[in-house]
C-alpha cells in the first residue's frame, strides 16, 4: 500500500537477513546455494485452464539455467512467476510455492515491489522507455527514491559497461533510447535490469528478435554476468541453451520433463520426449 516507505526500509538483501532458514549460513560462506530458487509442487492456472503442473526444481546460485521446450509449454509462465509478473493478469491463481534464497515470494510480508527489485527481468521484445538512455538506466533507482546525481552517474556507467554498451552509448547518454538499434536496445534493457543490482536476472527469450551478431553479443554478456547474478533464461534456440547455460530444464505441456546439467540434457537425455525435442523430431 505504501510502497515508498516499504522500499526505503527494505534494502535489497534485508530479506535474506530476515530469513531464519538454516541453509542461509551455508550460502553466506564460500559455497553457493544449490537451491537458490526453490520451486515446490507449483501449479498455475489461467482462469480454469491449468498452465503448469506440479513443477518442482532447484535453481542454483550464480549459474545460468535455461528453460527450453516447445511454444506453449509453460516455460515463460514459470519464468514470469518468479518475479510475480503474472499477478498483473486477471483471474490467475497458483498452488505450491516458490522460495527465493530461503523466503517464499508469496509470503504476505513481502512487498511485491521489493521482490521485483531483487529480481531483474529482460523481456522478449526490448522495451526501452521513451526517455533518454541515461533516464532508462536510472529508472529503477529513481522509482526507489534515489535521485543523487553521483550515484546515478556511477550506476549508468557500471550498468552500461556491464551490458557491454558503454563504448557505443557513452557519447549519447542523453539522446532518446529509441534511436538505438534493436540489439543495442536489448542490451540497454539488460543494463536497466542490472542497474539496481538485483540478485537474479530473468531473461524471457532475450535474443529472439535479434540478428546473429547482436545475439552473440548478448550471449557473451550472459557469460560475463553469471559471476554476479543467478540467471534464468527462456530460449527457443537449443544452440543458445548449450552455449550459455550450465543447467537446462525441458518443459512439455506444462510439465517439467527433465532438469539436469546442460551437457547431460543435450548429450544423454534420460527422457524420450527430451531426446525427441532436441533432435528436432517435434516442437
Amino acid at each position: 500500500m505504501n510502497h515508498e516507505s516499504a522500499m526505503s526500509e527494505t534494502s535489497p538483501n534485508s530479506l535474506s537477513q530476515r530469513s531464519s532458514v538454516p541453509e542461509k549460513s551455508a550460502a553466506a560462506g564460500e559455497g553457493l546455494r544449490s537451491d537458490y530458487i526453490k520451486i515446490c509442487n507449483f501449479d498455475f492456472f489461467y482462469g480454469t485452464k491449468q498452465a503448469l503442473f506440479d513443477i518442482s526444481m532447484d535453481i542454483p546460485e550464480r549459474e545460468v539455467t535455461a528453460f527450453i521446450g516447445p511454444s506453449g509449454c509453460g516455460k515463460s509462465t514459470l519464468l514470469r512467476n518468479l518475479n510475480r509478473m503474472n499477478d498483473l493478469i486477471d483471474g490467475v491463481r497458483h498452488e505450491g510455492d516458490v522460495i527465493v534464497n530461503g523466503q517464499s515470494i508469496y509470503d504476505p510480508h513481502i512487498e511485491v515491489i521489493s521482490l521485483r527489485k531483487r529480481i531483474g527481468m529482460v523481456f522478449q521484445k526490448s522495451n526501452p522507455f521513451p526517455k533518454s538512455i541515461y533516464e532508462n538506466i536510472v529508472y529503477p533507482l529513481r522509482v526507489a527514491g534515489q535521485n543523487k546525481k553521483s550515484v546515478l552517474d556511477e550506476t549508468v556507467e557500471r550498468s552500461l559497461k556491464g551490458a557491454a554498451l558503454w563504448e557505443e552509448a557513452k557519447d549519447r547518454l542523453h539522446d532518446s533510447a529509441l534511436g538505438l538499434s534493436g540489439g543495442q536496445m536489448q542490451r540497454l534493457c539488460i543494463a536497466r535490469a542490472i542497474a539496481n543490482r538485483p540478485e537474479i536476472l530473468l531473461m524471457d527469450e532475450p535474443c529472439s528478435a535479434l540478428d546473429p551478431i547482436a545475439t552473440a553479443k548478448v550471449e557473451e554478456l550472459i557469460h560475463s554476468l553469471k559471476k554476479d547474478f543467478t540467471i534464468v533464461i527462456v530460449t527457443h534456440n537449443m544452440q543458445q541453451a548449450t552455449r550459455c547455460s550450465q543447467r537446462t530444464a525441458f518443459f512439455y505441456l506444462g510439465k517439467l520433463i527433465e532438469f539436469d546439467v546442460t551437457t547431460k540434457v543435450f548429450g544423454n537425455p534420460s527422457q524420450k520426449q527430451t531426446e525427441d525435442y532436441i533432435t528436432g523430431r517435434f516442437g
Binding site: 521489493s114 521485483r116 522495451n127 522509482v143 535490469a193
Partner: protein, 553 residues
Amino acid sequence: MHATQKDDSLTRTHAAAGEPFVWLTAMGLTLGLLMVVGLLGIILANGIPVFWPKKVYEVTLKAGVKNPVPGGGESFAGELVQTRTKRIPVLTATGEVEDDQTELQYFVGNKDVYGINFVFVSRVDVAKLSLPKDIYAIERMEYGDAFVYPVDLALADGTKIEAPGNPSFSSRFADAVKTSNTLRDEIGHIEKIQIGRINSKINDLKVKRGESQDAAAQIVQLEAEYEELAAKARTLRQEQQAAKFTFRAPNGTTKTQPVSEVVGFYQPNTLTLLQKSGIFFRNIWNFLSEEPREANTEGGIFPAIFGTFVMTLLMSIAVVPFGVLAAIYMREYAKQGLLVRSVRIAVNNLAGVPSIVFGVFGLGFFVYFVGGGLDRWLFSDYLPTPTFGTGGILWAALTLALMTVPVVIVATEEAISAVPRGMKEGSLACGASKWQTIQRIVLPASVPGILTGLILAMARGAGEVAPLMLVGVVKLAPSLPIDGEFPFVHLERKFMHLGFHIYDLGFQSPDSEGAKPMVFATTLLLIVLVVLLNITAILIRERLRKKFATGAF
C-alpha cells in the same frame, strides 16, 4: 456471346473489387468537404465586406417616384447592400402576368435624421447614379454611420473652418477627431478604472462599517476623491464637447453635433485602394479591440472575445484533471466488470445529453447550491447582493467542463490502453509501483491522446451557448473577468461570449437588419478563435508526440 461474357466478368470484377463503394466513400468525403467550404465561404463572403469601405452612391430618382427617405426630394445617398429580384403582378391587356423587377437595397445611415437605416428602390425608378466626391462617411458614437456633406467645423477656440471648397478641411477635421478621441480615452480611464476602484473600495467599507470606527471617515475621504475625479471627468468632457461639427444630410437637413460624437470618418468616393485597405485593417482592429456600442450593433467585440477565451481556458483547466483522473481509475485500477461497464456507458451517454440540461444543472448546483453556500459562508456581509450566488464565469466554465468531460475521459482511456503492455511490464519489473508506472510511463505517453480529447472538448465548449445563458453570460458585461484590479482574476463576474453575442445581435437587437453583417463577422471571429485554440493544442500535441514516439513497438 464471347464478348458478353467478357463484359460480365468485367462488371463482376468491378463490383468484387468494391469500386462502387470506393466511389460512395469518396462521395461522402466530397459532400463533407463541400459543406465545410460552403460554410466558410458564406461566412467569409458576408463577414469580410463589413470592414471594407464601400462607395456611397447618390441615387437620383425619376420624377414622380416617391423618395423612400423622408424629406429627401428626388435623391438620396447610401451604400448598396444588395440587389434582389422581386416578382410583381402586372396588369396588361391580356390579363395578369408576373414581371421580374430588380430591387436595390441601400444603407442610408443618418438614423437620427431619417429614422430608418435601409431603403429599397426599384431599378426602373432610378434615373441617375453618381458618386459625389465631397460626401463624408462618419462613424459616430450614437445612431450609427452618417453619410453627409460637411458644412463647417467650429473649434473650441472659436475658429470656424468652412468646408465647401476648402482642401485642408479634412485634415483639420481629422485633427479635431483625434483630439476628441484622446480625451475620450482619458475620460474612460478615469470613469472606468479610477472611479471604479474607488467605488469598489467604498462598497467594501460600507459592508464593514459596523465593525470598524474609521471606516466612515475613510468613506468620506474616498467620496471626496470620487468627487474630485468626477469633476475632472466632467471638465474633460466639456472640453471634448466644445468643438462642434455642422453637416448637411443628403435630404437637406442641417445638423450640428459635437465632434466628440465622431469616432472616425473617411471620404468614401475618393479613396485609393491603399487607403481603402488602411481603413479595412483599421476597422478590423477596432472590431477586435473595442467595446461594443449601440446595443452591441456598433463598435468592437473585445469583451466577448476575451470572455470566450478566458472561459474556454478555465474550462480546459477544470476538465483535464477531472477527466484524466477518472479515466485512470476506470482503466487502471477499477476491476473490469459490470459496474465499470455501466459507468462507461453512462459517461458516454453523458456526452449526448442536450447542453441546456447541463445549463439547468449548473444553475441549480453550481450557482444556487455551491455559489449560494459560498456567499453565506464567505461573503455574508454583502448579502443580499450575491457574489458567487449568481451566474459567473467560474460557474459557466465548470458547467461546460462537466458537459465536455466525457470526451476527455474517452480519449484518455483510449490513450492509456494504447500504451504498450511491454512498457508497463518493463516499468513494473524495474520495481516501480503501479502509481509510479502510471505517473512516469503511462501518463507521459498518453499526453498526446489526452490533448486530442481536450481539443475536442474545447471545440465543443467554446461554441456552446445555451447552457451559458443560464449560468453567467450577459449581453453587456461592465468589466472583464481579468483586469488590473486586485485580485486580478474575478471568477465571480459575469462575462460576454461570442456565441451569445451572435445570438444577441441576430435575434435580440432592435435593428436586426443592421446587425446582420456583424453577425457574420462575429461568427467568423468565433471560428477563428476556436481554430486558434485548437491549433495551439495540436502544435503542443505534435511536439509531445515526437518526444514520446514509441517507434520500437
